[in-house]
Amino acid sequence: MPRIWRDDMVENEPEKTVVIIPAHNEGAHIAAIVHQIGVSYPSIDMVVIDDGSRDDTKAKAFLAGASVISNPFSLGYGGALQTGYKFAVKNGYHILVQLDGDGQHDAACMDDLIEPVRRGVADITIGSRFLGSQKKGIDYPAYHAPLARMIGMKIFGAIATFLIKQKVTDPTSGYQAMNSRVFSLLSGDQFPIDYPDADVIIMLHRAGFRIKEVPVRMFPSPDDKSMHSGFKPLYYIFKMFLSILVTLLRK
């Protein structure tokens, strides 16, 4: 059974937290990420979801000290994430953080994401690269994405903002933290396995979860070979419209 978190529980017992890192052919970057998280967050378990990589992602991640789960073949970005959600459900974790294996997401921002979930202020936090830092002393540089993606983000961000009546600046962000009730739901058959995006945010809102965007720092994808590189703008736009429509039609 998922536990319900109250503020007064925080001090007494630390929550079991896991960070999942979906990676597809990220042998060049994965070790550095795993190492950084291992050093900065020693109390958090770390699982790399190797999504059918053909390179040495699995070996590199394992040697760097992560537990590795290997999908037998590539299931896509969402499919890899869901393997992580199922792992977290199976092993009774309370909080899950996800960040991409290509080094795009700055691991230093992880605490900012986890904190609202730990305190029970939000059920899921989404790291936004566009919010800009409200923290003093840290300057998050402006983020530039390819034009087609930028337009997609703006359109679906606007649709999500309208539908959930709450500002959504970065619907494509895969840098998130969530409690067990959220990842239990996402490990079910409602979760899209290709591009989880604004449709998931809308679905979670309709399921009654509290969503909060948190400013994070993202780096441009190092060699433009991230898990989103199967990104086909036309299919993406079609899929997202359809997905949002059917999400609204479902009860």
Binding site: I69, G79, Q82, T83, I193
Partner: protein
Amino acid sequence: MFFEEVIMSIRIKIVTFIICIAMLLLIVDLVRRRKLREEYSQLWFATWLGILILMVWFDLLKWVSHLIGAVSNVSTLFLFAFMFLILISLHFSVVISKLTDRIKDLSQQHALLQNELESVKRAQSNN
């Protein structure tokens, strides 16, 4: 009236009849040899039985042709055959989607079990 009779000649009737019977026999045989599952054979049966009935019961075909405004009875037959084929492809897409979901679930389960097995083995060899 004469026009319709000419188009629906006895020859095309015989050809269609033979094709229908052959296809029905083929489907039964495939099910018998377990090459085709019963659940996927139903739409195929419906297609060929439908054409056969329209073929044999000529008044029904004429009535349907009149109803949908088809010029010739043969095009009515084609229309129905075509419609059923589209239904069958749609049915396949549904089945493929279901299979894709199942394969996804299975491979995720497989990945989780393998991870568990590896950690159990590691724990054992450390002892």
